[in-house]
């Protein structure tokens, strides 16, 4: 079976495409608000000094997301990764 990837699996500089949001309730809506819908391209652009949260470039804005939430955001890795 193919391994499922989430946002925690990409490192600064890597890109991916959103496949599914597994989050529920208010955080689900919050993620939708920042433009994380199926098919959205994201790029990891940095990590905070503590290693968490990470910053992602989403639709032209840089947004920090904690690792617990990244774990619920499933992605497709671009070809060749």
């Amino acid at each position: 079976m193919k391994k499922e990837f989430c946002l925690n699996d990409i490192h600064p500089g890597q890109k991916a495409v959103i496949r599914e949001l597994k989050a529920d309730g208010s955080i689900h809506r919050r993620l939708l608000d920042i433009g994380l819908v199926k098919g959205t391209k994201v790029e990891c652009v940095g990590r905070s000094p503590g290693g968490d949260p990470c910053a992602f470039l989403i639709r032209g804005a840089v947004i920090a997301i904690r690792s617990e939430d990244c774990g619920n955001i499933m992605i497709q890795l671009p070809e060749g990764v």
């Binding site: 689900h28 939708l32 905070s48 000094p49 910053a55 639709r59 804005a61 920090a64 939430d69």
Partner: protein, 727 residues
């Protein structure tokens, strides 16, 4: 005269919405980047030759789906605020995301004007916006702006006039009302129709006539009771239908007030809703999927429009920002840079405030002497002179001369950091430790606000969504020293630990010590947050997202003016208002005698044994108690009490002050404990009242009072008792 027209000004956070608002109304509404500043609507007025307008600045939001307090306020105003037009301010540097809000607004109302602000910054980043194409795609007037230079404001007013003239805007008549595939893009009132997936469209088609029937009936009723001859200006049937499907309890209330009835109980809706819901269920769209589909459709439309109107020279325009981020939030440099920045700001404040402070106090005490001469000349009784000059005036002079210069330096510096966009990076850097304490990273922002004023910090806690984490942030806010406490800290540190010789080295050393004390306060914030989330506020950290906005070149001139007028004078004004009556009271307490002792000394003597346990003395403790209204007056009270009968001694040099303190038994232990206690004791009364207002509970207000007091007492006790062992 025509009636006043209401115009709502909406927009994402940080797009210069308030600049537009200020330009229009000449008000100095500072909303800034301290998030959550506008959680209420600010209003201002302006008029053109044709109309007079009431401008309403609504909170900055990314969407109108109402997931936070700000969004709810914004959406309720756009939906039910009876606005004649809505101006949506957009950021040209990331238009696509801003279009999200534009489209959501256009779904609700047809009278929208889009302002594309920050065109200069976009041009610098190689982003070009075709305003005509955007206007054609959206079917509403689009105005290019550089609001900070006032460019585009006149054009906006002209467009508003035109729009009011024609009631419904004419652009749509010119633009194609049908998309290429023949679908209608607007309803009869000019509201935009976003194209949703088939199943959703079918469900809407079932509900829309029902919603329309209810709306028409309501409009008829309104006309009958002459509530309004005008049309209902809020949302139309299509939007209501959509919201009936995507149920939201917060909106329910608003719709009920708008229509004065429960729409779900109306016959047509009651009949149609189950059918529509069944259809959605058959298509496999539960609440969550439906939400996703709706958002996706809006986003897709925004993407399409932005493709037609935005041209990017470069593939990436943010590389410079990423490089800066790499340093400021880097693994090795992130924390040290924060500490150094804090130190530099404190050093600049201490050094810079030194001379003006002395000059001010010389001048003000010169005035005091003249006042004294005047009172003597007039033959005024001694008690009147004592009360007004030695009591009220002297405390005022102290507060002004000690507080004004540091604030006039600290606030602008802080506002600069805020303007550049560094504050969110602090929250980003500090999120991990806050998460470890089961708190929210945004607490770092409210903590920073606390440096200015704890009451402001407490209000700022509204930006934290989770109620538990918000309470933690509120309860711990006064553990960082506010501007009212800085002068006390600086004075004591300089007097006792540095020596009073002048020079850059001296002030650097006091800056370092002060930074350490502040870090201790921050450390206590973490510790207390951690303890709270283990005990009375148990819970897991909730998720949150934080935007790191692009760095901006700060507007130096405006920053200085704005921070001096809006913050410095505001805080100083409050301090003066509190200090004047306090001065009177303290003078009275120092001059009313019980037996052979003044009331002040009598109380101080009573408290003395208790205070000594904590390395303080009775006078210091009573000064802190009397300083409840404002921490600024703590040092003046100590001085007054030590000088007992109010004999005139000019306290314009720290050396004299040190001598006075030492002659009353101060040692380095007293100094350390006083500093610690100043850092951690009960919040000032303004902060306490704010906490009561924000939490709505005396219990939490009391907790907020007990926590820092307890922390301060425990620390002072440990320090004092350990020191006594060795002395």
């Amino acid at each position: 005269m025509d009636r006043e027209r209401v115009v709502a000004i909406a927009g994402n956070p940080n797009v210069g919405k308030s600049t537009v608002f200020n330009n229009l109304t000449n008000l100095h509404q500072h909303t800034g980047n301290w998030p959550g500043k506008t959680v209420v609507n600010a209003t201002g007025y302006c008029s053109t030759e044709k109309f007079s307008y009431k401008m309403v600045d609504i909170p900055g939001t990314y969407s109108l789906m109402a997931h936070s307090a700000e969004e709810e306020v914004a959406r309720d105003f756009i939906c039910f605020g009876d606005a004649d037009a809505v101006v949506v301010v957009c950021d040209a540097t990331c238009l696509e995301r801003n279009l999200n809000l534009v489209l959501q607004t256009m779904e609700i109302t047809g009278s929208v004007i889009v302002c594309v602000n920050l065109l200069d910054e976009a041009a610098k980043k190689g982003i070009h916006i075709d305003l005509d194409a955007l206007s054609k795609e959206l079917g509403v007037p689009v105005i290019g702006m550089v609001a900070r230079d006032g460019k585009g404001i006149d054009e906006l007013l002209d467009t508003l006039d035109d729009m009011m003239d024609s009631e419904r805007i004419t652009v749509k008549a010119v633009a194609v009302c049908c998309a290429d595939d023949g679908r209608r893009m607007y309803d009869s009132d000019g509201r935009y129709r976003i194209c949703y997936p088939d199943a959703v469209e079918q469900a809407i088609a079932i509900l829309e006539p029902a919603a329309e029937a209810v709306l028409e009936e309501t409009a008829l009723q309104y006309e009958k009771c002459r509530i309004g001859q005008r049309k209902l200006k809020g949302p139309g049937p299509r939007w209501l239908a959509l919201k009936l499907l995507d149920y939201d309890s917060a909106l329910d209330e608003g719709v009920r007030t708008y229509l004065q009835k429960d729409i779900c109980q109306e016959l047509p809706v009651r009949e149609a809703l189950p059918r529509a819901e069944k259809l959605l269920a058959q298509a496999g769209l539960d609440q969550k999927r439906l939400e996703e589909e709706i958002v996706s459709s809006v986003m897709a439309t925004a993407e399409e429009i932005s493709r037609a109107a935005v041209a990017n020279e470069k593939e990436r325009s943010d590389l410079k920002d990423r490089k800066i981020d790499h340093i400021l939030t880097g693994k090795w440099l992130g924390y040290p840079i924060m500490a150094v920045l804090l130190m530099v700001i404190l050093w600049l404040t201490i050094t810079g405030a030194n001379y003006p402070s002395q000059m001010l106090s010389k001048a003000l005490f010169w005035v005091q002497d003249r006042l004294t001469e005047f009172f003597r000349y007039m033959g005024a009784p001694a008690w009147l002179h004592g009360m007004l000059v030695l009591g009220v005036y002297r405390v005022l002079a102290w507060v002004v001369s000690v507080m004004l210069p540091p604030m006039a330096i600290f606030f602008p510096l802080f506002t600069l950091l805020e303007d550049v966009g560094y504050l969110p990076r602090i929250a980003y850097n500090l999120d991990k430790p806050f998460k470890k304490c089961c708190a929210c990273g945004k607490q770092a922002l409210t903590l920073c606000m606390g440096f200015g004023c704890n009451a402001a910090g407490v209000t700022g806690c509204r930006i934290i969504d989770s109620p538990r984490e918000r309470l933690i942030a509120i309860l711990t806010n006064s553990l960082v020293p506010c501007n009212g406490r800085f002068p006390t800290l600086i004075a004591i540190i300089t007097m006792f630990f540095i020596g009073t010789s002048k020079g850059a080295g001296t002030s650097l050393l006091s800056a370092i010590l002060l930074t350490l004390f502040i870090m201790l306060g921050v450390g206590m914030t973490f510790l207390v947050s951690w303890l709270l989330s283990r005990t009375i506020l148990k819970g897991v950290p909730s998720s949150f997202t934080l935007e790191l906005p692009p760095y901006r070149r700060p507007q130096f001139g405006k920053v200085i003016v704005r921070s001096i007028f809006d913050r410095t004078l505001f805080v100083l004004g409050r301090a003066v208002m509190v200090a004047a009556p306090a001065g009177l009271f303290i003078w009275a307490a120092a001059n009313i005698f019980v037996g052979d002792q003044s009331l002040l000394n009598y109380c101080a003597a009573m408290l003395d044994p208790f205070a000594r346990l904590f390395g303080l003395d009775g006078v210091i403790l009573i000064a802190f108690i009397l300083g409840l209204p404002a921490n600024e007056i703590v040092v003046p009270i100590i001085i007054m009490a030590y000088m007992a009968q109010g004999s005139i001694l000019e306290m314009d040099s720290l050396t004299e002050m040190r001598n006075l303190f030492v002659s009353h038994g101060w040692t380095w232990v007293t100094a350390v404990c006083t500093t610690l206690f100043s850092l951690m004791h009960w919040p000032c009364s303004t902060t306490l009242l704010t906490i009561k207002k924000e939490t709505g509970s005396w219990k939490w207000t009391f907790t907020a009072l007990v926590i820092p007091t307890l922390a301060g007492m425990v620390l002072c006790f440990i320090v004092a008792q350990t020191a006594y062992l060795f002395i």
